[in-house]
Structures are given as C-alpha cells and as structure tokens.
Amino acid sequence: MNTPRQITTLRAAAVISSTIIGVGILSFPRYMAVAGGSSAPFVAFCGIVISFISFWLLASLCRRFPREPLFVFSRRLLGRPLAFVFTLLIFLIFTLLTGLTVRQFGDVATTVLYKKTPIEATIFLMLLICQLSARRSIIKFSYIHFFYLPLIIGPTVLITLISMRNIDWLNLQPVLTMPSVSFWRGAREASYLFQSSFVIILLVPYMQKPKQAVRAGALAIAVAGLLYLLIVIASVGLFGSEETKLLIYPTLESARSAAVGEGFLERLDALFIVLWVISVYTTVYTTYYLAAVLLQNLCNFQDQRSTSTVLLPLVFITAMLPSNVFETYTWSLTLGNVSLMVLTGYVALLWALFLFRRFRKKGASG
C-alpha cells in the first residue's frame, strides 16, 4: 500500500509553484516598474528565464542521483567536511530567508489589514503553524501544497483579470527598452522570488518519476511566472509605471480597484488578502521545512521533528531583528544576492565535480 515513491510530477510542480507564489506578490510590480518603467513585464520575464536556468542546473543534477537528496550525494562528490560547510551555509540562508519572509509578511499584515494585531503575534502564529506542519513527512508536505495551490492561483487570476478590465494599454508602451544596468538588476531581483524552487532537492528522492524533475519545475515556474507577469501587466497597465513606482503594494491597489456589481463585491481586496495569507503560509512552510531538514542532516538526526522545534525561536529572533520595513527589504535583497551566488555556485561546483569524475571513470574504464 505504501511505496516510498508517491509524489507525482504534477504534485511536485504544485509544491514548487505554491512555494514561489508568496509574500512578494504584493510589491513585485513596484520593483519591476522601478527597474524597467513601462517595460516592467519584460523585466519580469527575463527574471523568470534566469531563474529557470538556475533551476535547470539544479534539477538536472538531482536527476542524476534519483535516490538521494542534494546534501547526501554532495558528500560523495565533495568530501564530507566541505559538503558540511556548504550544507551549513545553505541552512543559514534558508533560516534567514524564512525569518525575513515572515517579517515582510508581518509588516504588510499589520500595516494594511490586521491593524490591531501586534506584529509579534502575527509572526509567531505563522511560524507556529509552520512548525506544527513541518513535523510531518515529505509526502504530507506535498499534499498540503497540492491542496492549497488551486486556492491561491484561481482567485488571484480571477481578481487580476477583473481588475484588468480597466487597463489602459498605452501605459504598457513601449514594451521594450534598451537593457540597462537597472534592467538586469531588476531581472535578478525578480529571480530571487524563484529561489525557493530549491525544494526540488527534497522531492526528487520521493518522486514517482525522478527523471521528470526538470519538467515539473518547468511547469511550476511557467505557472507561477505567468501569474507574476499577469500581476505586473495589471498593475502597470492600470496605474502607469510612474504611479506604480510610488505605490507600496501595487497588487493590492489593483485588487481594490476591481469591483464587481454594485455594492456587494466591492471589496475584492479582502478576499485577496485572505488568500495571500495562504500563499505566504505555503512559502514559509517550504523554507522552514527545508531549513529543518538541512539542520536534521547536519546533526544526523532520524527525522526533522526535533530540529523543527529548535528552529522556531531561531527564526523568530531573525524575524524580529530588522528595526523597520526598509531594513527588512535591504536585508532580503542582500540575502537574495548572497543566496543566488552560493546556490548557483554550489550547484555549478557539484556539476563540475560530477562531470570530472565521470570523465575520469570513463577514462579509467576505457
């Protein structure tokens, strides 16, 4: 009845997708508008392509080792001590990422919607449900993502499409600009949102068809990327790029402007925020789970139950460290840069070692 390989390709895609769609959804159009003006959708598109390339590097490497997660086979490729250092580094990255994401969420939640709830309580509750659900197995982990994904995507797309009725297509022109430094910086920033697709390293050993890891990721990034593109188009099209730069949460504003009927469904942003909580939960859940599993691996524990508990105060303190919203954003951008370098560099290093070994083995046998 119970085989270890239970995660279908579709479910793996759902995990990655719902992980990617997260806290950034609210302010994403602003960054794109700052980077590229009216060509913001194109900036976002380039970011998606970049993140797909880095994902492809990772997933096709994992595909070669269908039985083990990255931090296990890296020990063989790299040697135990060096692999330990890198795993520790990745663990720190994901712990910080969890903390900063949940902090961003807390900032938005307390300033926009839940004004009477203290930020500590908001953050702690979110971390608590992540901790409780991080104790479960990876199969259940995939169930959760698979269940919530339609709840995230469906209404978001619907609200965005409704708000797109009022789009002025002139706002989106010119579509292309000369790629400048700020253009590429924006594309890189866009790719940060997709960094948690790293979760594929946990999924591959449990997938029914590990060979399809890349396909699952491609599907997931396409879905999430389309959603992000749609949001950018809606915001920039509605407000124009200059206005979008000034709005803190342009997506929320465009949801506000979407009203159906007279009176009753005028506040679609409330529905939007409710679903946004779920999408943040799935994102934080993934990074928390990753951090817990990495810590479990560092300590050589049987499962991630105890490490997920240990992680809770750690992440909470991280989340409370930045003193204001601007600091949070600066920190998370820095973290994005560092993690892009570390993760991609690490994967590239492993690839090089893998190819080298195979080359040598071939040379030895041939």
Binding site: R11, T117, L125, I129, K140, F147
Partner: protein, 549 residues
C-alpha cells in the same frame, strides 16, 4: 424480603468460604452425577439456570442443562424432550455400547439444526452461556450441545438517525444474525464473506467482519483483522467500543470510522471495496476506511436523480461550512475589519448592536453555548417535552435576549444559521466535530481577527490533510488527486458514468459496469433528448443496441 435475606446470607457465606477448586480431570466422566456436579460448580448458581432430569427413551437417566432466559422452551419441549422421552419400539438397545448413544440421538432423535459433541467439561459453560443446551447421559462420557438460542428482539424498523426521503426503510436491529441476514438479502453473491469470532473476555460478543472477496483490497481486510485481533478488553457492548480501539487517530475530532444503521449503505460500501464490522447487540455497522467526503453523503443522493442529488449535496456542503466558519467570520469582521462590509450593511449592524454591552466575541460565545445547551437538553428529554422546550428556548433566546440587550438581532441570525447548518450534516459525529472546532475558531477570531480565523482554518485543513484512515488519506480523492474519483464527491454524476470503483481503496476489481454500457446509454440519451433523426436511430438499432424497444 425473607427470600432476599436468605440469598444474601448464602452469598456472603459462599464468598467467605474457599472458592471451589477446579476438578482434577477436565474430561467428562461416565457418571452423570459427577458430570452434573462439576458442571454446576463451574457455572455457579443462577436464577435462570435449569437442570432437567429425565429418563432417556424411558430407560437411561439423563439431564439437560440450559439457561431459561436464553433458549426457546417451546422448541425444547417439541423437538428435544418429546422425541427423547418417547419409547420408540425399534431403537437398538444400548446395553453394552453406550458410547454410540450420543450419535444415535443426534442422527435420529432430536430435530435441531445445529449441534456438536463435546468431551471436555471446561468447554460446556461457555456454550451454555451462549444459549446452547447441554445434554448429559448416564454412562456416556460425551455431552451433546444443541443450539436452542432464541432472544426476543424488536422488528426491523426505519433507522432513526439516518432517515431518507427516498430509499429503503429498514435498519439494523440488535441481533447479529438478523443484521447479517439483511446484508445477505441485499448482496446475494458468493463473494460476500463474513468472518465471525467472539471478542471481549467477559462479554464474548460476537464480532463479524464482512467484505467482498473479489473486490476488497486484501491488505485492507488483513489490516482490519489485525486491528481487531489486538483488542484486549473484557467487554464489547456496542460497535462504538470497537471503533475506539481500531481508529487511527483517537485524538482527532474527526471520525475515522463510519457508523451506519442502514444495511443498504453498508452494502454500497462493501461494493466499493470497504470492510464492514458488525457486533452482536449493536444496531450499528462500522465501515472502514471512512473518508471526509463520506460524511456529507446520504442515500438520497443516489436514489434521487443525479441533478437533484448533486444539488442537495452541494447545499449540504454549504451548510457544513456555515456551521464551521460563520461565527468566526462574523466576529472578526465586526470587531476587527468592519471596513470589509458594504457600507449600508455595516450601518445596519452597528445600529442593531448599539444596546449590547459585550464585545462581539463574548456575545457570540454566550449565544453559541446556550444553543448547545438547548440542543443537548432537547435530545435528552422525552420527545413530547422536547418539542415544547425547543420552542420555549428559541423564543427566549431569539426574542427576549435581543429585547434584554443581551445580544443583537444579527448575532441571533448568525447563531441560528450556524446551528441549522450543523444539523444539515448527515453524519452526527462529523457534525459534532465541526461544532467542536467552531469554538476555538471563534476565540482565535476574537483575539486576532481575520488573521486568527485564517490560522485556525489552516490548522484544521492541515490536520485533515495529515489524517489517514486505514492507510487511505482522509481527504481522498481530493488529495492526493484522483480526477476520476471526483465524479462522486462534490457532485454526483449519473450512475452510468461512474463505471469504476474508487481507486483510492486499491480494489482488485475496479469496473462496476462493462465498458460498453455507458457509451450505449449516452447514445440513447442523446438520441432521445436531441432531435434524433430516423436514420441514425435505425443505425443504432442495427448496430446491436435495441435497448429502447
């Protein structure tokens, strides 16, 4: 009075004296008095224990031992005593070979369908307790056990807890044989297997495990048997006792075993590949595995036409979410995010709440708790008073509470909707689970507003996703996704479209209908519904499907 005093004295005396030691030899001896004596020591004294001495065939001393409360005395007179006491002219004499006596009696004299012979004295008392009659004969070291069990029972009636508009009206009764007969009557298949064994060291209740041999997953059947086999208790009084021993997560509020009073429902579950467990003395059958979507399905869904079935099922789902979320949403919107309401509505609500001194969360909690008290009181009271009480209670709560400034009219509306929603859930235990979870949600919403409600909801949904019943994920077939099985979840598609059994049960034989039938039906329907021209109809008939003639 005197009689009871004597009884008391002898009882106390018996308690103080040493307990009777077990007889040295366990097997029956040739002496009737020895056998009787050791049997009575084992059985102890009891008011309804009958020892009837008589002369077998007018010659041989013999004794019958039985409980008069468990057996049919008329049957004993007619089919045992009468032939045994008669002096048939032609029977052989047993002067030297008394050992054959028992077999002679069994083969030619008594007119009873079930019986065994027994040589161990220790196996006699359990049989007598079950309702069998023991026949001991002088000079024979074998006892004849004859099944004479007859217990009066009520007739087959419409089940009270699961009533239907359209569908069978029969429900289980307490006696196991009758319940199994009801199942056999609906499922006349040689594949239908029933395993019966006693359970519980003191009650020795007979537990029956039913499944369809060619359909049910062998691993599921084995797992169910394993879980029943490790039950170690002295008493099984109802199927509910077994449920508590075999469920996966005792701490979860959600039921993971379905209990039903309806044989037709049980048969439908068996045909889907599930396993049913019945207990002697309980009018409920347990069905495993039980999944979340079963708890808002009823027999009506299937006996009515599919459009109505689907609509009613959707309505029930709405009621179910009412009963869980409504008060929490109300509390969080009123006290944290009033801007989410349309302006006119917000004005109306705040006008209604003007005289109420409590915060919304307290107000809702007071009303909900009093509603629960009212519900419990109405169930416990006799039916005649119950109706009156509920009317008084509703009037008091509805009218006077508002007039007294205890609650606002809108709160009363919300609480009433919640309560009615919880009654619309067909499975009583699932409805209780949701009603229970409503309170933490209200409190969370009262503390953290909409966000608290969301957190609570995520916790509940996650719990549902983590739950399993006998190895099957509780939210199947939603999670893990089996699109094919969605035909019978939120909506109920036409029966001829559901040609496969649910795949999440890992059944052996998945097809319900032959593959060709749905196509033929669909053709027929399209032809009758649309403007079918004569040509295509002729074609259809020529092709072999003369179904509509």
């Amino acid at each position: 009075m005197e009689a009871w005093k004597e009884k008391y004295a002898s009882y106390v005396q018996k308690q103080q004296s040493c307990p009777p030691s077990a007889p040295g030899s366990d097997s029956l001896s040739h002496s009737l008095t020895d056998n009787l004596e050791s049997l009575l020591t084992l059985l102890g004294q009891s008011g309804d224990l009958v020892v009837r001495d008589f002369l077998l065939f007018g010659k041989y001393p013999a004794s019958m031992v039985f409980f008069s409360s468990l057996v049919s005395q008329e049957q004993i007179q007619e089919h045992i005593l009468k032939p045994l006491m008669a002096r048939p002219s032609g029977h052989p004499g047993f002067t030297d070979n008394l050992a054959d006596m028992v077999h002679y009696i069994w083969n030619t004299a008594v007119q009873v369908t079930q019986g065994t012979t027994e040589q161990l004295i220790s196996s006699l008392p359990p049989a007598i307790v079950k309702g069998e009659l023991v026949l001991l004969i002088e000079g024979v070291n074998e006892a004849l056990l004859l099944d004479m069990r007859q217990i009066d029972m009520r007739g087959v009636e419409q089940p009270q807890t699961e009533q239907v508009i359209r569908g069978p009206r029969e429900g289980y009764v307490e006696k196991l044989e009758n319940n199994l007969a009801l199942l056999r009557y609906r499922l006349q298949s040689t594949d239908f297997r029933i395993e019966i064994s006693p359970l519980g060291t003191r009650t020795q209740s007979r537990v029956a495990l039913c499944y369809l041999d060619s359909v049910a997953d062998p691993q599921l059947v084995a797992e169910a048997m394993r879980r029943i086999s490790i039950i170690d208790t002295d008493s099984i009084i109802d199927a509910g006792y077994i449920e508590q021993f075999i469920e996966d997560q005792p701490l979860s509020p959600f039921p993971q075993v379905q209990s039903t009073e309806r044989p037709d429902k049980t048969v439908a579950a068996l045909l889907e590949g599930r396993v049913a467990i019945l207990v002697d003395g309980s009018p409920f059958a347990l069905v495993v595995p039980a999944l979340f979507n079963q708890f808002f399905q009823t027999v009506d869904d299937y006996t009515e036409r599919f459009i109505m079935g689907s609509l009613i099922r959707l309505i029930r789902l709405v009621a179910l979410s009412f009963s869980l979320f409504f008060p929490a949403i109300y509390v969080s919107v009123i006290s944290f995010n009033p801007e989410l309401m349309p302006t006119d509505f917000a004005v109306a609500i705040s006008g209604g709440r003007a005289g109420v001194p409590f915060p919304a969360v307290i107000e809702v909690l007071i009303m909900e708790v009093s509603m629960e008290v009212l519900r419990e009181a109405t169930i416990r009271l006799p039916q005649m008073i119950g109706g009156a009480l509920s009317i008084v209670g509703v009037l008091v709560i509805g009218q006077a509470a508002v007039a007294a400034g205890l609650a606002s009219p809108i709160t009363v509306v919300i609480v009433a909707l919640t309560t009615i929603g919880s009654f619309a859930t067909p499975a009583y235990n699932a409805a209780i689970a949701l009603r229970m979870l409503r309170f933490p949600l209200i409190i969370l919403a009262g503390m953290f507003g909409m966000y608290g409600g969301m957190i609570g909801t995520i916790l509940i949904i996650n719990h549902l996703l983590f739950l399993e019943s006998f190895g099957v994920p509780y939210m199947s077939p939603f999670i893990p996704g089996n699109w094919r099985d969605w035909k019978d979840t939120l909506v109920r598609v036409p029966l001829w479209w559901m040609r496969r059994r649910p795949s999440f049960l890992h059944i052996q034989d998945s097809s319900r209908l032959p593959a060709s039938i749905p196509g033929a039906y669909a053709d027929q329907i399209l032809q009758q519904g649309g403007e079918a021209d004569e040509h295509s109809k002729a074609d259809h008939n020529a092709a072999g499907g003369s179904r509509d003639q």
